[in-house]
């Protein structure tokens, strides 16, 4: 769906390239997270996909089409765009803000009104009341909900998101991440998502590109990134607790084994992250009984089974 081939960019006056020979492939329906320290080129890489920045070399294809051949304005209307500061138009109502791209595309007013109402409902806002309000009346979390709704307005197949939840408090951020994942289960989108928060990357990413000094060091699934970091930088970037982070991506159900369980073993549901199960085991229990949705015991977990879950396959 999105293909970057040996893309390069050096800004005028800069001693080193901002993006240096980056190749990435994002399949339809995937979330590609670009992560790395400040100045690593992640935002520049993202902004080249809708030609907000023009690359010096290489090729970018969106849906098979070389974007260098496209009209930038028309290209951008077909790609959703969300930034950290949201950038809502302060002089327009929420409804008018969401209607931006449909209006640019010349939709009929009735169709726009219908679409705006549906989107407000989708992001948990009240279409009747909130549509008439102005951005200054909204909280940070509400503003970003509207930012996402505005990007989805014309139903673009591709979304570019630059630290959309970065300016929010941790609780609001987690809530919006959950909402966003739920939303994506309903509307399949191909997404390039920039963040500097590794936990956010692991939570949202189908695949994560770790960048440094304009280069992609590793482009892998969250599980493989944690299990097999490509080099020392990636290893330190994902954090000293990567074993725990890996356990956070695994579920009790997938790793339950036939164990001899004591009579009153503590029970955990199959969808419990192994990280939480480990915490319970360390707390008191010698073993945990894993139950399915009907409450039947399907197996057990001990410290040994959890350690085995972390072992590389075949070891």
């Amino acid at each position: 769906m999105i293909l970057l081939e040996r893309v390069r960019k050096r800004f005028a006056g800069a001693s080193a390239p901002a993006v240096d020979d980056v190749s990435l492939e994002v399949a339809r329906g995937e979330i590609c997270v670009l992560i790395g320290p400040s100045g690593c080129g992640k935002t520049t890489t993202m902004r080249m996909i809708n030609r907000m920045i023009e690359p010096d070399g290489g090729r970018i294809l969106v849906d098979g089409r070389d974007i260098a051949q496209a009209d930038p304005v028309e290209l951008r209307r077909g790609i959703g765009y969300v930034i950290q500061q949201v950038g809502l138009f302060p002089h327009q109502t929420i409804a008018e803000n969401i209607a931006t791209v449909p209006r640019l595309l010349g939709w009929a007013p009735a169709r726009i009104a219908q679409r705006v109402a549906a989107l407000l409902a989708l992001v948990h806002m009240d279409p009747a009341r909130d549509g008439r309000r102005y951005p200054r009346a909204l909280s940070g979390g509400q503003k970003q909900r509207i930012g996402v709704a505005r990007a989805l307005a014309a139903d673009p197949p591709v979304l570019l998101m630059d630290e959309p939840f970065g300016a929010l408090d941790p609780l609001t951020r987690a809530a919006l991440q959950d909402e966003f994942l739920r939303l994506l289960r309903e509307l399949s989108k191909t997404i390039v998502f920039v963040t500097h928060d590794i936990d956010e990357a692991l939570k949202l990413g189908t695949r994560i590109a770790v960048m440094r000094a304009g280069r992609v060091l590793q482009y892998d699934t969250p599980a493989r990134l944690l299990a097999q970091p490509a080099d020392a930088f990636v290893e330190s970037f994902v954090g000293g607790d990567r074993a725990l982070k890996r356990l956070g991506l695994m579920t009790a159900g997938a790793h339950a084994r036939a164990l001899h369980l004591p009579e009153h073993a503590r029970r955990v549901a199959a969808d419990t992250p192994l990280r939480d199960a480990l915490s319970l085991l360390l707390d008191d229990a010698a073993a945990l009984a894993v139950t399915d949705a009907q409450g039947r015991v399907i197996g057990g977990l001990s410290l040994e089974t959890i350690r085995a879950a972390l072992a590389p396959p075949g070891a």
């Binding site: 951008r76 209307r77 930034i83 950038g87 302060p90 002089h91 640019l104 200054r136 990007a151």
Partner: protein
């Protein structure tokens, strides 16, 4: 005294209405021409940071020049009469409009412009739908300042033969005729207050609801 001024005006209706007409025409024309130059000029300068600094500095210098000095400087170059007065008053009206239009455009959050561009607005759509509506109150603040300055400054046009209500004032001073002086001074004062009020009201009405301070 005021009664004498009233009697003077009533006994010279022709002269009074002509002077008032010239005064209003001179002010309105100067303001219109200045707006026609200053607003597009500020928009052009806003797009080019290198120009912007020059234009801002020029406007700052322009605002510090005394009105009378501007008229006096014009006279040796263009002579006397209506046209040189119009030229001088236009020069006087330019700086506040340029300054406020630029300030209004700069007050637009860069993230808002980035979002507009990223969603696929062309440059002129960004200007028309985003930058201008947000800058409009500031543009009107500039027009308001310029209008009041021009209405007051037009009094000085009398010195270079431009006509207007200033004729009564200069004549009144020259002949120590207080009533005649007031026939010029009172209408100019009312005119300036009225213009200030009208542009203030327009400024409030044109401020988008989302930008109004509650």
């Amino acid at each position: 005294m005021f009664l004498d001024a009233w009697r003077y005006a009533a006994s010279h209706p022709q002269a009074f209405w002509t002077a008032l007409g010239v005064h209003v025409l001179l002010s309105a024309a100067a303001l219109a021409i200045a707006a026609g130059i200053a607003i597009p000029g500020a928009l052009a300068a806003h797009r080019r940071p290198a120009w912007s600094a020059w234009v801002t500095n020029g406007a700052n210098i322009g605002r510090t020049l005394p009105s009378l000095a501007v008229l006096a400087l014009v006279m040796p170059l263009l002579g006397t009469g209506f046209a040189p007065s119009l030229f001088a008053l236009t020069l006087l009206a330019l700086p506040p409009i340029v300054q406020n239009t630029l300030a209004g455009l700069r007050s637009v959050d860069p993230d808002v412009v980035d979002a507009a561009r990223g969603m696929g607005m062309a440059q002129r759509e960004i200007l028309r739908r985003v930058e201008m509506p947000i800058a409009l109150p500031a543009v009107f603040a500039g027009l308001r300042t310029a209008a009041v300055q021009v209405v007051s400054g037009a009094v000085l046009a009398a010195f270079i033969g431009g006509g207007g209500l200033g004729d009564f004032i200069t004549a009144g001073i020259a002949m120590m005729a207080l009533p005649q002086l007031l026939v010029g001074a009172i209408p100019v004062t009312l005119l300036a207050l009225g213009v200030d009020y009208a542009f203030g009201a327009a400024q409030r009405r044109l401020t988008p609801a989302g930008l109004r301070t509650p």
